[in-house]
């Protein structure tokens, strides 16, 4: 149990996928203008990333490794993730139209989110077993969501404050992201 707990803390705070690994920066900047958009994106990522982690894990250990085709990992994973996102979209549209319309365009956007592929590959690299994969994928996504929501909160405040013209928009966004990353460095010692 403690093992999983540590893994969660590690994935959410210490090795935050956004602020420590710098994966998925594109949606981080793109969907953080408004809190409502940010939470939508966060939910979508948690949903997809957990699924993708599990499936790619299966593809790796039951297809690629037995056939000794590990070098096909990247391309195979991308294929699987793209298909998965499509599948999720189709199923959601039918079974949970409310959730589907709330997630809107974020769902298809995740196909190109490098955080998803990143986590899938880390799962393999770290030699996680199935349970660890589930926990790590989920926790990484939560970390992504946490960072995104915090960031959106900050950016909403920016909109209300006086800021030199040159710093407005993406510029202040990047600077803030950097400062947030520094802050998250503070969690380094947590893992021991």
């Amino acid at each position: 149990m403690t093992e999983y707990l540590l893994l969660v803390v590690y994935a959410v705070l210490v090795n935050n996928i956004l602020l420590a690994q710098f994966l998925g920066n594109c949606p981080f900047l793109g969907t953080s203008q408004k809190m409502s958009t940010a939470t939508g994106m966060a939910m979508a990522v948690i949903f997809v990333l957990t699924f993708a982690g599990v499936i790619t894990w299966a593809v790796q250990w039951y297809v690629l490794v037995p056939l000794e085709l590990e070098y096909l990992q990247t391309i195979a994973f991308i294929l699987v993730i793209a298909a998965l996102v499509q599948l999720v979209e189709i199923v959601l549209q039918k079974t949970a139209p409310a959730l589907y319309s709330a997630l809107g365009i974020f769902l298809p956007l995740i196909t190109t989110n490098c955080a998803v592929l990143g986590v899938a590959i880390i799962n393999i690299k770290e030699d996680y077993d199935f349970a660890n994969t589930v926990v790590f994928s989920f926790a990484s996504a939560v970390g992504f969501g946490l960072a995104l929501v915090l960031f959106a909160g900050l950016r909403e405040r920016f909109a209300l404050s006086r800021m030199p013209r040159a710093l407005q928009g993406t510029v202040s966004g990047l600077i803030t992201a950097g400062l947030m990353a520094l802050a998250f460095q503070g969690f380094m010692k947590l893992g021991g």
Partner: protein, 692 residues
């Protein structure tokens, strides 16, 4: 070998994924309108969300649902709009053109303030501090956050400090509406306006708040002041398609709350309305509004009075196919068959109704619900909703001995309807009218015009309680009507089927009753007689709902305790979800402007129902106008004289039915429009300048 294995694996995964998706698409198939896909394909696919929808697919859905026009996309430009329009089968211009409009008239430098705000110069920041510095909750905070939000440079700061709209540049993208923390700037389309129900969030002048039809009075007065009479008429018709009629017969409650009452006399709001409407009629050219392309839905309207025709008018503008069924030979309801010519010439009424029918509204006269057809028939013919506006055509009887014995005793409406039908209605020398409402006054003044020498009007309360329009009572007095207040009939006396006289009792005012008016009580032994050749009773009308006595759907419609049709105020929905009612049929005998309001509200509800939206009202809408502050202490505004209606002299009115009120001149209208203070909810012209 190795290459083959790789190809097989990737190909295999691909195939499995493809099959899986294929199966899923079949199993979880959701019906998507092919039009949505088509529209989605011509949108740029940038998913920028600039249009306010979550991506292009969502925007395409909205277009197909008819929620936005073909020009939805803010980046695609004209080309894209035309492509969308092509698919939807309408031209880009055929959709409604929206334009940003500010709902606040006074900037922070001229408005009533609570405190001076000097924080961050952004409306959203200012709104965080107690909702901003203005006294009212809906005032513009003046930092122009909307101006910087507009990507098209369509907003600029006007001379008065308020954001102003460059109509050429505004694309109706709604960015300003979304960013304004107070919802003051809104993208308005005609249909968004005429389906609007006033709420506490709207800044409205006292007159507009009180007008049952919720006409934007200061706006049309300002348009008249600019000489833009066409605009004035259009503004009125966004809430009331009967300006010629209302400009003549409306009791104009708006004037009784006009802020100018605190200075001198109210603005002559109603006659300004009539002036603008007369201008349209006299110009001979109709200012026809835009009618949206047919949406394929049909609505049946029962009764071609002001209520029914108003509902028809607004639904027709939204693209509904409307058919009005009327039991009488001509449309107009009580406007035609009740109100006499000298107040509302038939020609004028015809012209106004013509403007409604010209929008493509179908009218079938001599067709009576309950006799010629039933509600079930309408359903069978494919009508999606029904509006019942059958008016209040049943008259209350006097209930005194002798009432049934003489042909010279009739109800005021019977008398007036006969005249309306063009039948002979001779009256004798002495005519008595019983009642104090508009019907009583009309019967009295009509009798006088037909040659009666003594016209008596008996009313059981005093003059101040008379429900008739004040002007009617005054004019009746000029014409020599003899009023007997605090009197009630007790007996009709005559010989051999010929009426001779009416006996009545004197009354005095006792305790206030439920309506707050003092109840008249008879004085014992005070009987006296008046000679009478004719007696017309006009003591109340109620709806004649025998048309709904049928089995089936009609029997499901509830009745109020006044025997009118039960419906929910605001939505106007009856107990049957796609049947609506309003006007006199719902209120009991009331006024034209109230019927018009009900007709418009019903049109709003029918549109919501038939587009599959939830049929609700904004939570803070008001059925009764809030009391708004008057002119502040210590503020001096120059007095000026109110424009007086030009009238036919009393001598010229006898023995004819020529219109009594002749209108006001253009010069008078211009001068009168300048008297208007252009009020907001608390602000008005001259507040700051004069105060300092």
């Amino acid at each position: 070998m190795e290459v083959l294995a790789a190809a097989l694996v990737i190909g295999g995964i691909g195939t499995i994924a493809a099959i899986g998706l294929g199966v899923a698409a079949k199993v979880f198939a959701v019906y998507i309108d092919p039009k949505v896909i088509e529209v989605g394909e011509v949108l740029p696919g940038a998913n920028c969300g600039g249009c306010g929808y979550t991506g292009c697919a969502a925007a395409a859905t909205a277009v197909v649902k008819g929620k936005v026009g073909a020009n939805v996309c803010v980046v695609g430009g004209q080309e894209c709009a035309e492509a969308v329009a092509g698919i939807m089968g309408l031209s880009a211009e055929e959709g409604e053109v929206g334009i940003a409009e500010l709902g606040c008239k006074y900037s922070v430098t001229t408005a009533h303030l609570l405190f001076d705000y000097d924080g961050i110069e952004d409306c959203r920041a200012a709104a965080l501090v107690n909702g901003g510095g203005k006294v009212c909750s809906m005032g513009c905070l003046g930092f122009g956050t909307c101006i910087s939000a507009c990507q098209f440079g369509a907003l600029y700061r006007g001379a008065d400090g308020l954001p102003a709209v460059d109509k050429e540049r505004c694309t109706a993208c709604g960015a300003c509406e979304r960013i304004c923390p107070k919802g003051i700037i809104r993208v308005q389309t005609p249909s968004r306006k005429f389906t609007h129900v006033q709420t506490d969030d709207d800044c409205v002048a006292p007159c507009q708040a009180t007008c049952p039809a919720q006409i934007d009075i200061p706006a049309y007065i300002a348009a008249i002041g600019r000489g833009d009479y066409e605009k004035a008429v259009c503004i009125i018709k966004e809430s009331n398609p009967f300006p010629l009629v209302c400009g003549r017969v409306c009791p104009h409650v708006c004037e009784s709350v006009c802020r100018r009452n605190d200075i001198d006399e109210p603005v002559n709001i109603n006659h300004l309305k009539r002036f603008a409407a007369d201008f349209e009629m006299n110009s001979g050219k109709r200012f026809l509004p835009q009618v949206l392309p047919p949406n394929g839905k049909r609505v049946a309207i029962i009764g071609a009075g002001p209520g029914g025709l108003t509902c028809a008018y607004y639904l027709a503008r939204m693209g509904y196919q409307i058919k009005v069924f009327e039991s009488m030979p001509k449309p107009g309801g009580m406007l035609l068959y009740g109100i006499p010519e000298y107040r509302l010439p038939k020609k004028t009424l015809d012209w106004e109704i013509g403007g409604i029918l010209e929008l493509g509204v179908e009218l079938e006269c001599d067709k009576k619900l309950g006799v010629d057809f039933t509600i079930e028939d309408l359903y069978e013919q494919g009508y999606d909703a029904i509006f019942l506006a059958v008016g209040a055509w049943d008259s209350r009887r006097l209930g005194v001995p002798g009432e049934q014995d003489f042909p010279q005793v009739a109800s005021g409406t019977e008398f007036l309807i006969k005249r309306g039908l063009g039948e002979e209605t001779p009256v004798g020398r002495d005519v008595i009218i019983v009642g104090g409402g508009n019907t009583a006054m009309d019967a009295a003044r009509t009798s006088w015009r037909l040659g009666a020498e003594n016209v008596y009007l008996l009313y059981r309360r005093s003059r101040k309680e008379m429900p008739a329009n004040d002007i009617e009572v005054d004019e009746g007095e000029h014409e020599g009507i003899k009023y007997h207040f605090l009197a009630a009939p007790t007996k009709l006396i005559g010989t051999g089927g010929k009426l001779d006289a009416m006996e009545f009792l004197k009354m005095e005012l006792g305790e206030p009753d439920a309506s707050g008016r003092r109840r008249p009580v008879p004085i014992e032994g005070s009987e006296s007689n008046i000679q009478a050749d004719n007696v017309f009773s006009a003591i109340g009308q109620s709806p004649d709902l025998t048309c709904l006595d049928a089995e089936g759907v009609a029997s499901k419609l509830g009745r109020t305790k006044w025997n009118s049709i039960e419906a929910a105020d605001g939505t106007m929905q009856t107990d049957v979800s796609n049947i609506f009612s309003g006007g006199d049929a719902w209120r009991g005998a009331a006024t034209a402007v109230e019927a018009i309001r009900d007709g418009r509200f019903a049109a709003r509800s029918i549109n919501l129902l038939l587009t599959g939206e939830e049929l609700t009202l904004p939570s803070n809408w008001y059925a009764r106008a809030p009391k708004l502050p008057g002119i502040d202490e210590g503020i001096k505004i120059d007095k000026s004289e109110r424009a007086r209606m030009i009238e036919l002299s009393v001598d010229d009115r006898r023995m004819n039915f020529n219109e009594v009120e002749l209108g006001i001149t253009e010069e008078m209208a211009k001068k009168e429009s300048e008297r208007c203070l252009q009020c907001g909810e608390v602000c008005y012209q001259g507040y700051r300048e004069k105060a300092s």
